[in-house]
């Protein structure tokens, strides 16, 4: 299956007509000096690093617009009938920057290297290193431990391909296969030049200069001051500032970021009772949250994760605020109103702590006392995440309902944030991933989403738009949510 030709998801050539070749695009991206990573298989907490890596190296697949997995280094893929064995065919004419062709051996070596990193199990779920092999020079075979109709989805973000047997010490200078070659890299900043030999569609830009910014604010200031042409993921406030200016375009990429509130469903938690969770979901004023926390740059959500999925169940009725009903539910569930509940949050991303604050304020209307506790990022991820009763979390890839189901909601999921165990949900999930028959799959997915909407541990009040700011001359910017924003190879300057 798969292999549609929308690798250029942002491909509409714009009203101005034909793309003009040449020019240097100056991009700002967020990052911290202390977190700089050069290894494509490392943990890139810096967007700037990920951007550079994603332009220099290629993954097997990339996020797409029509189907959420689009081909890249792998031109096409197919699975066995049991949905366990997947075969990826390497794109015609794919070459490393040093001129040598990309072979299946290179890909196998790279995937195995990825699998053997500390977080490899999470990045290639269900795949063991020994089950990755080459078939000839152009095909890679991956065997999953269980049926997984959505496996190609997993190869979108980290499956960067390097030359076989690249030394760890040579990683920083290792040739990639991507649309741009590394000219220089220094402390998070880099200059990339066009790879004229790229196997993909024509690249128009001569070069891309990446500047790392510690704060979105500094990045927005740089854009306003004309020091960069594109501020990647600049945030809503910067967008509002720029809105009035004609020389700056504001790009909204919907369904970019989810900031759900997690309620622990396990026994012993105050939210173990389904009715309490329902009440919480009724108490939140979603419009107000979107307006105040996201400055309006977002959409109301319906407690289902993966809003950008083409299979998203938009027909499930939107839950509205109903304080009276919430109170009734709470009373039925013998909810302890005298207690003050701690809502733990962290300040990793803009708006997260604000959402908690505002929610606490809204919950007060139903007589629920909530105190927001802000934890330092490290402590939050170590102590609260996956363990706390009541906390905020965030996810940046929202184009797959199944992705969330597998990663965070099915009973055995490694990152089951709410400790949720629901037999009905598990069954629906299994049904969905073990078939590639569209109708069966669609029914299963709808069922899955319905259960999630009713009973899960998530309160998803809204989705933040991804917001890029760009100078007026920048054309054909990527429009996909999340990491889709790094696909800058189609951009040109007018």
């Amino acid at each position: 299956s798969g292999g549609s030709d929308d690798s250029r998801n942002a491909g509409s050539a714009g009203a101005d007509g034909k793309p003009r070749p040449g020019g240097t695009l100056r991009v700002g991206a967020l990052g911290h000096a202390s977190a700089i990573t050069r290894d494509p298989h490392g943990t890139q907490t810096n967007e700037s690093d990920y951007l550079v890596i994603a332009l220099v190296f290629d993954t097997l697949t990339i996020p797409g617009a029509k189907t959420n997995t689009a081909p890249r280094l792998s031109a096409s893929w197919e699975s066995s009938a049991d949905l366990k064995t997947w075969k990826f065919t390497i794109a015609e004419g794919a070459k490393f920057h040093d001129g040598s062709p990309v072979t299946a051996e290179d890909v196998v070596w790279s995937l195995k290297r990825l699998r053997n990193t500390p977080s490899g199990a999470a990045r290639l779920p269900g795949i063991q290193a020994k089950n990755i092999s080459a078939e000839g020079t152009g095909t890679v075979v991956v065997v999953s431990d269980y049926a997984n109709a959505d496996f190609p989805l997993m190869t979108r973000f980290a499956s960067f391909v390097l030359k076989k047997d690249t030394e760890d010490s040579a990683i920083e200078k290792a040739p990639g296969t991507g649309p741009f070659k590394l000219d220089w890299y220094r402390n998070g900043n880099a200059r990339l030049v066009r790879n004229d030999d790229w196997y993909g569609p024509a690249v128009h830009l001569d070069a891309i200069e990446v500047t790392m910014f510690e704060t979105p604010q500094a990045m927005a200031n740089a854009l306003i001051g004309g020091q960069i042409d594109l501020a990647s993921n600049a945030g809503a406030v910067a967008a509002r500032t720029a809105e009035a200016r004609e020389d700056i375009q504001v790009l909204r990429r919907p369904d970019d970021m989810a900031m759900p509130i997690v309620m622990r469903t396990a026994e012993g938690s105050p939210f173990a009772d389904e009715r309490v969770r329902e009440a919480m979901r009724l108490v939140v004023d979603r419009e107000a949250m979107v307006k105040q926390v996201l400055s309006g740059y977002g959409t109301v959500a319906n407690d289902i994760m993966g809003t950008g999925d083409p299979d998203y169940a938009g027909d499930i009725p939107q839950r509205e605020r109903d304080v009276a009903k919430a109170k009734q539910l709470l009373r039925d569930a013998d909810f302890d109103f005298s207690r003050t509940y701690e809502l733990v949050t962290t300040e990793d991303i803009a708006g997260l702590a604000d959402s908690a604050t505002l929610f606490a304020n809204q919950a007060g209307d139903a007589g629920i006392k909530i105190e927001v506790v802000k934890q330092e990022s490290g402590a939050f991820w170590e102590k609260t995440w996956k363990a706390g009763d009541f906390y905020t979390t965030y996810w940046g890839t929202n184009d797959s309902v199944v992705f969330y189901a597998s990663k965070t909601m099915v009973s055995e999921a490694g990152q089951n944030e709410a400790g949720w165990q629901d037999a009905g949900f598990d069954a629906a999930y299994r049904e969905a991933i073990s078939t590639d028959e569209p109708k069966r799959r669609a029914t299963a997915l709808t069922e899955l989403q319905q259960i999630e909407h009713e009973r899960s541990g998530y309160l998803l009040w809204g989705m933040a738009d991804g917001i890029d700011l760009a100078a007026a001359k920048v054309q054909d910017l990527p429009k996909l949510a999340g990491y889709g924003r790094v696909q800058l190879e189609g951009v040109w300057l007018s």
């Binding site: 202390s34 907490t45 500390p118 977080s119 900043n189 200031n221 402590a379 995440w385 490694g414």
Partner: protein, 331 residues
């Protein structure tokens, strides 16, 4: 009677008047400063150890298991006793090796680019601070209790109270966003340095303004103390012009206190750099430090501390030598 005072003008030390004596004294002073740096490092090492969490968990990502963490801990050597790690780190120091960060990079390498950048920033700010605060302080001190004096005193107090981030915000708003005179942020080139020198102006100003406030107060205070000494009063009674009284009689006595004030400022400048560099996206040590503390990256923190400590030690050393010189130890 020991005079544990920065500004206490004690009897001239006459430890040595020969070249050899001077050398011994200077060596002693340097040795003492180095020893203090070592003590400080030990303290910081221990303090970082007290922090909850460690480098392994800080560098971990979502989905890592306990076994992965233990493995990472072992790789980073975090399972060895603290003193052993400290000893290793210390013994490698003289070879210029600052150890390996929690993310496995050479600390020396991590600091190679940011440190010079921060030094450029801090030194420019320090020079500006010294010049401005001496001028303002002396100017105010020659007009005691007049409007100019009060104005300088209160303005400098306010300037000091207003932290760098407020000054930065104001500068940014006025000099860049509204007028467009200066680049809003620093953009670095392939050589790791800011591409134009104009990018330095705002960060330097943001650092220098609060410190100038503090040092103007110090200078003004030290000069007021000196003004109360009988020999300055006598100089006035001898009919010397005010600038001459200031330069020959008042200022030399105030130098030790001023020098200590400036040394303190150096520490504050490093702190301020953390904020200012973030706001102006300046590629310096401040950003590295902030990240290192968040990540409990002991070797990296220690690396930054030793750099900052060494610079402050140098300033203090200069202060020591100036104090000796003005007290006439070599007379």
């Amino acid at each position: 009677m020991a005079a544990p005072g920065a500004g206490a003008a004690t009897a001239p030390r006459r430890a040595g008047t020969t070249a050899w004596g001077v050398a011994v004294r200077v060596a002693g002073t340097v040795g003492r400063r180095v020893l203090m740096l070592v003590v400080l490092l030990a303290l910081v090492f221990a303090a970082v150890e007290l922090l909850p969490g460690d480098a392994a968990s800080a560098a971990a990502e979502r989905g890592e298991s306990a076994a992965d963490l233990a493995e990472r801990r072992h790789l980073l050597g975090l399972d060895r006793p603290l003193w052993e790690r400290f000893a290793d780190w210390m013994t490698a120091l003289p070879t210029g090796d600052l150890g390996t960060s929690a993310r496995g990079q050479e600390v020396t390498e991590l600091l190679a680019d940011p440190l010079p950048n921060t030094l450029i920033l801090a030194v420019s700010a320090l020079v500006l601070t010294v010049v401005l605060s001496l001028l303002l302080g002396c100017w105010a001190a020659t007009r005691p209790h007049r409007l100019a004096d009060r104005l300088v005193t209160h303005t400098s107090t306010a300037a000091f109270a207003v932290p760098e981030f407020v000054v930065s915000a104001a500068l940014l708003l006025v000099l860049s966003l509204w007028t467009g005179w200066l680049p809003a942020v620093t953009v670095t080139g392939g050589d790791g340095r800011p591409t134009t020198w104009t990018m330095l102006i705002m960060p330097v100003l943001a650092l220098a303004i609060p410190q100038t406030g503090w040092n103007t107060r110090v200078v003004r205070g030290a000069l007021a103390d000196q003004a109360a000494t009988p020999h300055v009063e006598a100089a006035h009674l001898d009919g010397l012009p005010p600038h001459q009284v200031m330069l020959r009689h008042q200022l030399p006595g105030a130098v030790p206190a001023i020098a200590t004030g400036i040394a303190t400022s150096t520490g504050l400048l490093f702190g301020g750099a953390v904020v200012v560099e973030t706001l102006f996206n300046y590629p310096g040590i401040g950003a590295v430090l902030a990240g290192a503390v968040a990540a409990r990256d002991t070797p990296l923190i220690a690396g930054v501390v030793i750099c900052a400590g060494a610079v402050i030690s140098l300033v203090l050393l200069a202060a020591d030598l100036i104090r000796d010189a003005t007290l006439g130890a070599r007379a």
